[in-house]
Amino acid sequence: MHVKVLFFGATADETGTTESTIELPEGTRADAALTEILDRYPKLTASRDRSSLLFAVNQEYARADEAVNEGDELAVFTAVSGG
């Protein structure tokens, strides 16, 4: 299946893109989807721990075991700094 992956701010700079489409095996869970994204973009964890990245599926913070489906909108970003 194919999903869209969005990057913002620091993660957009590090991946060199704000939006990418990737292929994942059917039945992939959020945690495994993030692993796949981090494998593809090693700069994201070059200078920070994976645990400091935030991961959203369809515009909501994702639980690790959440199902990811065809056409979903994923997003990987650093701890927010608005305000």
Binding site: A56, Y61, A75, S81, G82, G83
Partner: protein
């Protein structure tokens, strides 16, 4: 009257107009938090800031926070506006305004909302210095 306002805008923010929007007839007080661009952060001089958002998710999170605030506190209305794009020193970046029948709840809810906004709403700040720039990572 709409009860909740959430907005992301690249236009300058008018604090007074934002506070005024949330005033219902039964309420006597509004508490407003107004955040703005500091010249100095940890001794380093900022030239300007750039804010970027994951816009649809940020609006959803603001809506979720306001709904949670209405559950937790006895408040009537909430307005949350965050500016995006380039901001000069001293310009307002965020305004959170809460109207409530009793001011205690308005103070509590406003303080809770800015704390949660800084923790969960997907907006990022880039500090631009004379000699470089950095995306700020939250805590």
């Amino acid at each position: 009257m709409r009860l909740m306002f959430f907005e992301l805008t690249t236009e300058p923010l008018d604090v007074g107009a934002i506070a005024r929007r949330v005033v219902p007839e039964e309420c006597g007080a509004t508490v407003t938090l107004d955040g703005y661009v500091r010249r100095f952060t940890k001794g380093r001089e900022t030239e300007h800031l750039v804010y970027e958002a994951y816009e649809p998710m940020a609006l959803k999170e603001m809506d979720r926070l306001a709904a949670a605030a209405k559950e937790k506190f006895e408040i009537s209305n909430v307005s949350i506006v965050h500016r995006l794009g380039k901001l000069e020193i001293g310009e307002t970046s965020v305004v959170i305004s809460v109207a409530a029948p009793h001011r205690r709840a308005a103070f509590e809810a406003c303080e809770w909302l800015i704390k949660e906004l800084k923790r969960t709403v997907p907006i990022w700040k880039k500090e631009v210095y004379a000699d470089g720039e950095v995306w700020v990572e939250g805590e």
